[in-house]
């Protein structure tokens, strides 16, 4: 009754299994390649720039002489830029997300805003630079100031803040809102006292993401005319400025090896800043989520 039956892999299946393993190896190699590239990139930068990195480098103004040049002005410029950018994009982005998520769930306006934001997120950064140049620098006559740069940068990162904040708000369970309404709170009170605090970790992540994007952006700053040679620390938002990526670009575009080393050292500083920012973000997130779940 039971006819003989062979369940060991047929020759055709043996071939298919071999192909299967091959593809697995192939996909693994593809993924591995990303890591190899990352390693090569870091190796290139560290091997070129590590020797140049010193306190002197961090604390010196730019110079015609590569070995005397440093990133002091660029660091201050970037710091100013980041603070002003966040002061603008943070509140506006979070407020816009709150409006979209908590006050207009559906409807035509919400749909238009949604499409608009996802399209804005895909606009090349240099287009924001052109906008900043024409609108903030010339039409509003802000000149090549930190404020003009920060406003440009704020528009650039706004979609990032909005999208991340919306996701964070969406993750807050509706029962929390219902509980707050049941206690007689108004929608605004509910958002400010109940929803926002529990969405905080996600919002902070979004802000850090936005900052990480802003601190490395170069093209818009070149467009609005951030200078490459600044031998002073900016004192206020109307001062002209340089920024770390601008300084790196300037050095990298010079043919001399010594300046290339400066560029690599500048990149190390920039990557270190990114690392610190993201670590702080992770810490804040962890602390916040610990508070929420005692």
């Amino acid at each position: 009754m039971s006819r003989p039956i062979d369940l060991t892999p047929s020759p055709a299946l043996v071939v298919r299994r071999r192909r299967d393993r091959l593809f697995h190896a192939f996909a693994f190699a593809g993924a591995l390649l990303c890591l190899v590239v990352l390693a090569l990139l870091l190796f290139d930068i560290v091997s070129t720039g590590a020797a140049r990195l010193s306190w002197e480098f961090i604390n010196s103004f730019p110079s015609r002489f590569a070995d005397r040049a440093g990133v002091r002005a660029a660091l201050w410029g970037s710091a100013w830029l980041m603070i002003v950018t966040m002061a603008i994009a943070g509140p506006i982005g979070v407020a816009a997300a709150i409006y979209l998520e908590e006050f207009t769930r559906r409807g035509r306006l919400a749909a238009i805003l949604e499409i608009n934001i996802s399209n804005l997120a895909g606009v090349p950064s240099i287009i924001y630079g052109i906008l900043g140049l024409a609108f903030f620098v010339r039409w509003l006559a802000l000149g090549r100031s930190i404020l003009a740069g920060a406003l440009t940068m704020a528009l650039l990162v706004l979609p990032v803040v909005i999208i991340a904040t919306r996701e964070a708000l969406r993750a807050v369970p509706g029962s929390l809102r219902a509980a707050s309404f049941a206690l007689g709170a108004s929608p605004l009170q509910t958002v400010l006292r109940v929803v926002l605090p529990s969405a905080m970790p996600g919002i902070v992540t979004g802000l850090i993401l936005a900052l990480s994007r802003a601190i490395g952006e170069t093209a818009p700053l070149i467009m609005i005319g951030a200078l490459t040679y600044v031998a002073f620390v900016p004192q206020g938002p109307m001062d002209s400025f340089t920024a770390l990526p601008i300084q790196i670009f300037d050095w990298a575009s010079r043919p001399q090896a010594a300046f290339q080393q400066n560029a690599a050292a500048g990149i190390l500083v920039l990557l270190a800043l990114l690392l610190v920012m993201n670590s702080i973000g992770i810490l804040i997130r962890q602390r916040a989520s610990r508070k929420l779940q005692p």
Partner: protein
Amino acid sequence: MKIEALRTSQGAGPDLATGSTLEVRGCSIRYGDKPAVNDVTLAFALHRVTALIGPSGCGKSTLLRALNRMNDHIQSCRLEGQVLYHGQDIYDPAIDAAEVRKRMGMVFQKPNPFPKSIFDNVAFGPRLNGTFRGQARQALADHVEKCLRAAGLWEEVKDRLRDSALSLSGGQQQRLCIARAIANDPEVLLMDEPCSALDPISTARIEELILDMRENYTIVIVTHNMEQAARVSDNTGFLLSGDLVEFNNTADLFSRPRSKKTEDYITGRFG
């Protein structure tokens, strides 16, 4: 052996007159530390329909998926004991799961046609296995037609074989999935609640189909619906929290349950 013990214990016992090529022996399955099936032994009669019933979470799907090694894809899942197919333990390291699955068609709870054309859905298995390699195209087309006819779908789709399978209704999709499953010319058909996502008319059509296919396939069907089990199956196994409480021919199991637990379940006292 336990099967023999069950058969002789009382009444007629499960109908195994046609013999069996698929048996489960001392099979225990767990997910991580959590047991799902405990020491189950039973045989699926050749060219008969065997139903597995029991309350939700009792391990029906787990047991069914063990029969064609679909649990291999769940990392935490571990199996002890044997699943014998033509006398060979399908969990033997020398045996390839793909060879086992090729011989056992499976139909799932929710229709899951691939987002391809109706034709390509049915042709998927034969193409994988190179069944018609080197033959005229028409051979594959004829085979697809045969399978669609067997699944009672041919008349409805013969003019739109190139349309997306997703354009079919839920009941049609499920019959397409049956056609797809039998396109590999399997000996066994495993069905996991194939009607639970369907309306009563589609359900009736699939039940009819099961009865038609009975002569050609060994069918194992998991169902929540006891009327369905009574209508379509020859033997029925009742599972309760991972234990096979009772295994008997369907008529006896429903009319003269040996176990109090079975009686409670089929009379709707719980579950």
